[in-house]
């Protein structure tokens, strides 16, 4: 009797390499565990297509209540938006500058010492771990109620985000040019500034502009603690059931997001 392999004609093929490398038993076990946990999580996440479908009419009704956007309070909204954007711009800019230096230390290849590498990674992760709410409370309690506390929160927030993404971008860069500068005898700083930064630039621009945008959006939290900005306006509109005004605010955030994104695309194309 012929084996299945022979019947299907596979024996005609020469010594082909394996299609996939089989994972080791240990890894296989880990994969298996991971999948089990995911399935277990699925059950805990309450996904339900039915609920979603049944919810559509209600959602439609709410969206209906939001239209048409109400522009009568556009003046105070614009002012709040401007203030928010100012805080975001300044906070994010300062955060981005700090992030850049931290990121150099937090990227494995560029860090002068493993101890520095781990400690900066820790600092950045810590900035990310403490929620906005807590930072805001800390800063309001220390520097007082107002924009400055908001700006500080944004700085920390930006460090948590950009610090990580800048470091990753630097690690993803093609190593060829770096090696070339190494053989020239350049210092690590020279290499970072001359080879890593130009290559990671589009990514830096992207993360940076995202950070500004993010800062604008996170002003909802800042609003909660009295740091001003568009967040509190939105909260008032929602709490007072002025859905049409809320729609205006959402729209203005949307416009800002789109504008920042377009700006990002323009700048990046200059660095590509």
């Amino acid at each position: 009797m012929k084996s299945t392999a022979e019947l299907s004609g596979i024996q005609n093929y020469k010594n082909l390499p394996n299609r996939f490398e089989l994972p080791s038993a240990w890894k296989f076990f880990l994969y298996f565990l991971g999948i089990c946990f995911f399935i277990y999580s699925l059950s805990g996440s309450g996904l339900s297509g039915g609920d979603l479908v049944r919810g559509v009419p209600n959602m439609a009704r709410l969206v209906g209540e939001m239209t048409p956007p109400e522009f009568s309070r556009i003046r105070s909204i614009s002012l709040a938006m401007l203030q928010t954007f100012q805080m975001a711009l300044v906070g994010a800019t300062i955060g981005i500058i700090i992030s850049f230096f931290l990121a150099v230390l937090a990227s494995r290849r560029n860090s002068p010492h493993p101890a520095l590498y781990y400690s900066t990674r820790f600092i950045i992760a810590f900035c990310r771990s403490v929620p906005d709410l807590v930072w805001a409370v800390l800063f309001v309690a220390s520097v007082g109620l107002g924009v400055f506390a908001g700006t500080l929160t944004i700085i920390i927030d930006t460090i948590g985000f950009c610090g990580r993404f800048f470091a990753e971008a630097m690690e993803e860069v093609d190593q060829g040019p770096e090696e070339a500068l190494q053989t020239i005898g350049a210092t690590r700083l020279d290499i970072v500034m001359s080879a890593v930064v130009p290559a990671a630039m589009p990514s830096f621009v992207n993360s940076s502009l995202f950070a500004i945008e993010k800062a604008v959006r996170s002003s909802v939290v800042l609003g909660l603690v009295g740091a001003g900005g568009i967040g509190i306006e939105l909260k008032v509109a929602m709490d007072m059931f002025e859905y049409q005004t809320a729609a205006t605010i959402i729209l203005s955030i949307f416009l800002l997001v789109i504008a920042v994104e377009q700006f990002s695309i323009t700048i990046r194309s200059r660095f590509m």
């Binding site: 040019p177 070339a180 500068l181 053989t183 020239i184 001359s194 290559a199 660095f271």
Partner: protein, 264 residues
């Protein structure tokens, strides 16, 4: 004119110094899943030598060069470069040593997005001027002047302001050469430096190197697949085969036919 394999350009007897510039002994390197790439390689190169390194594709020539500068960490063996023990150097003396060696990469390894001039100016980073070498815009006029000079040697001064990633193959190779010249190195290692160059420029560039040997007394080690070049522009010749050094001797002792065996 093309075929000068009978008469070598440089003669070992011309070499004055007896100083050893590169001594490699029992060098070995293997990569995960690829087995042995360099197998017990030993040789030495005197100051002022022009050494051609030939060998089949994948025989380990580039890896050998990279090991000599510790861009790849060798598994075993001793390397002494310009009198320094490469394998045991710490960060800072290693940097100082590397700065004296100009390595021209097979893939050129220019920094994309920067201009050609900035790339060439990078070659002078070994003189430690910090941020003034990061971009051409910051560099002092004499450095920019020198860089233009190096570009002139490879015939590309008109491209100084072009972006390095928009060059043709040969142009980018020439920029890499200009960058190495900018280093004012004591030792030039060149990995197939004229592979993408047209025949005329290729000869000019090789002449340039040979001239540097004569005038500046540098040492020159180059990889080439062009046997005529190998025979013409060297006084010493080494041949690799499957990670082993097969030939190692005076260029004048070899004929084209001998060399073809290496690729067997």
């Amino acid at each position: 004119m093309l075929l000068q394999s009978e008469t070598t350009y440089i003669d070992s007897d011309m070499i004055s110094g007896e100083e050893i510039h590169l001594a490699v002994s029992s060098l070995a390197k293997s990569f995960d899943g690829r087995g042995v790439i360099l197998d017990d390689v030993s040789f030495s190169i005197k100051k002022g030598d022009a050494v051609a390194l030939i060998g089949g594709n994948g025989s380990g020539k580039s890896t050998l060069l990279r090991c000599c500068l510790r861009l790849v960490e060798p598994d075993r063996g001793e390397i002494s470069l310009l009198g320094m023990p490469v394998t045991s150097l710490r960060r800072s003396p290693l940097r100082a040593l590397r700065s004296r060696v100009g390595l021209i990469f097979q893939r050129h390894n220019l920094v994309p997005r920067l201009t050609v001039l900035s790339n060439v100016i990078h070659g002078s980073m070994n003189s430690g001027w910090g941020f003034r070498r990061w971009r051409q815009g910051f560099a002092p006029a004499e450095i920019r002047e020198q860089a233009i000079g190096c570009l002139e040697k490879v015939g590309l001064p008109h491209l100084a302001n072009s972006r390095a990633d928009q060059l043709s193959g040969g142009e980018s190779q020439r920029v890499a050469i200009a960058r190495a010249l900018m280093q004012k190195p004591d030792f030039i290692m060149a990995d197939e430096p004229v592979a993408s160059l047209d025949p005329k420029v290729g000869r000019e560039v090789m002449d340039l190197f040979v001239n540097l040997i004569k005038t500046e007394n540098i040492t020159f080690l180059f990889v080439s697949h062009d046997l005529e070049h190998a025979l013409t522009y060297s006084n010493r010749l080494m041949a690799m085969k499957d990670g082993v050094l097969h030939l190692n001797g005076e260029t004048k002792d070899y004929q084209t036919a001998d060399l073809h065996e290496i690729y067997g």
